[in-house]
Symmetry: D2
Subunit: 356 residues, 4 copies
């Protein structure tokens, strides 16, 4: 497919650089007659927005979304929905010093190697600012999915501190700065991240996203598998280095009798003894919760000097003095939810196409 | 995209059921004038073939591939390459007893839920037999990539026993039945798997695939990222539940100063202090080795009875008496290599299109 | 899209050369539970088959189709349908003399220019033999469309002799060798074509295809327009040089008050005063008959010597002594019908996806 | 593909309604390091702009384009180029009276049938205003093609008056309001169209577009044929009812010895005796000029009353009192050029991908 689009029928194309005049996306394939206004999208953007706590970048962006097409009198018309978010606080000066330097761990060198040119202002196209468009598209996708599908994300792990299943409380996620499902762990993280932040460092994290209410049958074997698309979608989020479904990498240790969730008679379709498969079997949803996890590496925009080279190939040292996130995983939670929503919406339409 | 195809420019479409007359694939977009005959493809298929040791299914398939189109006098012509492998040992009787039963951990129930019909013979389309087509396509992809790119796979972990980086020897991989890079571990696995096999059970595994010689610059941000496509490709392999790049899930624990591979002046482009990023930054190759890992769950085709339901919803019990693999991860190694080859070939062409 | 595939959801990929071992196609996205066997496909192939009259090429092909995947017990399963037709009468010797010559009006020179290699046997991939796969796919598409949609094709014009609307009788189409809707004109054509055939020449033709029973609403503005897809589909048939919808090129002369079909109240949706728009307005079906016309140029495989160059660039002369068609438009009728069927099936599924 | 996008590698997605806040497009896949600013795009938009003569709609749009992403310091970066044109003169009141009426010959009824909702202001998404985005994208495509490819369009026919080849002078095209290559005919048209305009009527036209300098070898058989993509592209322009290549429909009357352009030895590749094939053989360019023609029907937005029905199905009468074009074909000339440019740019990149 083309480079900046995803989805087959619910198709999202994003555009824009971190410090250009605006970023945005075009969403094609949305069914008509869905109620949609900026008020349906803005709350999700506000959740992702920078500057909301001391643990996320202090860039001041209002992230006001504007619908430029695709609706009429508050309803979708089935035509492309164009969404635009203006960049109001670019602060290009923060980045000018490193225009000739490749920041280690960033995409500076690879963009330069590929294109022979890059927009150095705030990471240009490689900036996590692009994920605002995913969140906006996710808000539309939730409209497509309707109220029967519920998507929830949480931060499962920051650095060395992970939440155990026993302490998991979805209701707690909204009560702290971290989307943490365990209030006690949220306090641990606060102290832990404060130390990291003060040290000018950063750390990785694991995000977990669940979708409930997805009926059995969505997905398209064998290369359009639901979990294959989820893997691609999550891996395409900035700084993600791994994706897993259900038991994920822990499945390596499981024996066949444990890995296979047993099936049990149920009143409303069969039940399952467990959900090691994360709601997907053979690339098709089973009716259980879809469970996806992904890991976000620590940002390399830190105050600790790191060795690098400049565009001439000479050795240099990089210290990022601008705004940054000690744990970019925090802001990845709403992004992961949005990707889940978009991919499910696409598969809902694909399923409907083939099955009527 | 359509359901049974992958790749944008090097595009593979597979077809066929486990117990139908044949399986095959069509490969479109191959450059012309590459030397190609069945002899270039057969050795890779032989590596994946069932019945090669007591640890893989004893189904007797010769897996003889036939080129039906796309070559002339031993060279590719740029037109679609159609490959066919006849099924010679289907043994439908092995499976007839369970046609009305949903095997736990398999795609029986989800295919049934989606389509209202399924081919119960050997898993039908959901059978791992489909992966033979990937291996065949991978052989063609290696031709496209040429000799400068080397792709190697190994089994990193079986059940609770993993190979450490210190003991890793690529040269050892071909010397044992497991594609194991550590001869000592291969002996451990042999004993371990014999016990599991005799117990009628199975176990999961982790496969690791490296690609060397990929130049900096391949990949297509932001939704056509090289690692995004690798994630989708590996996740689409049967029984895979997770994919990671470079440090992968271990990156959650890494601090920013450790996660970012430092850059160092080099004679032939910059060097890197490490490869936590698995050769991909911002979705584009960095010139380092591409490193991908994926987990394969234990097969649920085991002799140990498991609870399930039949198509009427009533409780039943499932025991798989037919041929099966105690560790399907073993045969996933050449499949992972093939997916790496196909995805790299596609990105090589995509890069060439945009960059000349 | 990739080169040898068409359709978004009902997706057809064809492969094979004129004189290779076989040709075939893979059809992906078909809904399950449709009754399908070789007997549903063979009659359509028989209609297109060479050797059925003295006005079509005398190559003796049985064109026996075989279903290799995608059905179980006589029903589609929703997985890829692989169809194969073996080439039984290739006669490579007919073509060996011209392997080094570019036949004027054929794709020899352009394939050579693009690929640097071509299969010279019978036109290789550029042979009209590829259209047998379209006809086979069209038979499956008709199953998807169901009995409410009727697709009919006819030959409207051969050389200077065209059928007028007043003499058009669909019931006559099957009664002559030409798919001619006017019995009197069929006699004219017989004499006219006999002269052309005896002169070793050939002539062009116009094919017209109608689809009845398509409901209002199929199509996808603005680049997935129903008529846009029909134009691409028909233009991709060998030797086609033009496509038109409804009034087509005659619309240049029409005034606005005549070009717009007036709408009239009706019992079952609105009626129309005429069908200048060929059943498509704004790229979406109107409920009227879809009317498409395309022109097929005369084949350049003739007995009359023509000037050309060889692969070294030197002047030469080309006379085609092998089997050939005096009017390839005759055999294009079932091909045009098949393309109509495939494109409508695709749009039926696309409409269902978005609209439920 | 998705509905509002075209192109495989040079991919254009358009959005926007006639009377919404703006229209625009996203262009993905552009090579980097091309000089590009608004000044490269604006002149082409000015050529298409309404209000430039009494023969095109008097809507006053400045059509000022703004580049929102994809360039840095005046050069393309290889990332998506987002272009936006604000709508400054929507005049919604002109159209409010007919919100409940289906205008004959327009897409009102088909959009309504498909979506159950439509934006009635100025035709909404079905407005020819969308073609401004194509023209903007075409300006970028010309940059991709570079100076060696020249694309020129002209109006070949208005109503009953056509330009003959003998009188064709490309240099005359810019000297009149009609893009007419024959100054004498331009005078005929002026008088002819004045009569039609005063009568409140409209008439159809034929546009012809040539591309010179395209090397032999571009195109992708068999479903990605260059002429197939051109046919789809031109047919997707508003009001187009037919497309032809080279001799087009006239080829029906040609004999094989005339239809095949003979090949002749040349200094810089072979020459051709004629160009009946319009520069495309077997879907691949021959090195000759690419010649495409398409017909644009008369607009139904006329002062002459026409019978129609309203959304309740009752009979009514439609008279379009707003601004309109007596011959929309005039403004289709730059649109046809732009589509040619975009499709050639896409095939240039596709060719480069496969052939290196």
């Amino acid at each position: 497919m083309s480079h900046n689009s995803f989805g087959t029928l619910f198709r999202v194309t994003t555009w824009g650089e971190s410090h250009g005049p605006a970023i945005g996306c075009v969403i094609d394939g949305t069914p008509p007659l869905l109620a949609l206004s900026e008020d349906d999208i803005q709350p999700w953007l506000d959740r992702r927005r920078p500057g909301t706590s001391r643990f996320v970048t202090q860039r001041q962006e209002t992230d006001q979304v504007r619908i430029l097409s695709g609706t009429y009198e508050g309803q979708t018309t089935g035509t492309p929905i164009s969404l635009m978010i203006e960049n109001v606080d670019p602060r290009s000066k923060d980045y000018s010093a490193i225009a000739e330097t490749f920041r280690p761990g960033h995409a500076d060198y690879t963009y330069h190697s590929k294109y022979g040119i890059r927009d150095p202002r705030g990471g240009g196209r490689a900036s996590a600012r692009e994920t605002a468009c995913r969140v906006a598209a996710g808000a539309v996708a939730r409209k497509v999915l309707g109220p029967s599908v519920t998507i929830r994300g949480a931060l499962r792990q920051i650095g060395v501190h992970g939440v155990s299943d026993d302490d998991w409380d979805w209701d707690a996620v909204g009560d702290n700065m971290f989307h943490c499902p365990d209030p006690a762990m949220a306090l641990v993280w606060e102290s832990y991240l404060d130390d990291i932040r003060k040290a000018g460092s950063s750390v990785g994290a694991v995000v977990e996203v669940h979708a409930s209410g997805v009926p059995a049958g969505w997905g398209a074997p064998v290369y359009g598998k639901l979990d294959g698309d989820l893997a691609a979608g999550m891996m395409s989020i900035n700084a993600v280095k791994g994706v897993e479904i259900g038991a994920g990498f822990a499945a390596a240790r499981l024996r066949g009798e444990d890995a296979a969730d047993e099936m049990l008679p149920g009143n409303d379709g069969p039940g399952f003894s467990d959900n090691h498969n994360g709601g997907v079997l053979g690339g098709i949803s089973s009716g259980q919760d879809i469970v996806v996890r992904f890991v976000v590496k620590a940002t390399s925009s830190i105050l600790i000097p790191r060795r690098s080279v400049d565009t001439s190939g000479a050795a240099t040292e990089v210290v990022t003095k601008g705004r940054h996130d000690p744990c970019v995983g925090i802001r990845a939670v709403p992004v992961g939810e949005a990707m889940m929503a978009c991919i499910l919406a696409d598969h809902m339409l694909r399923h409907r196409a083939q099955m009527g």
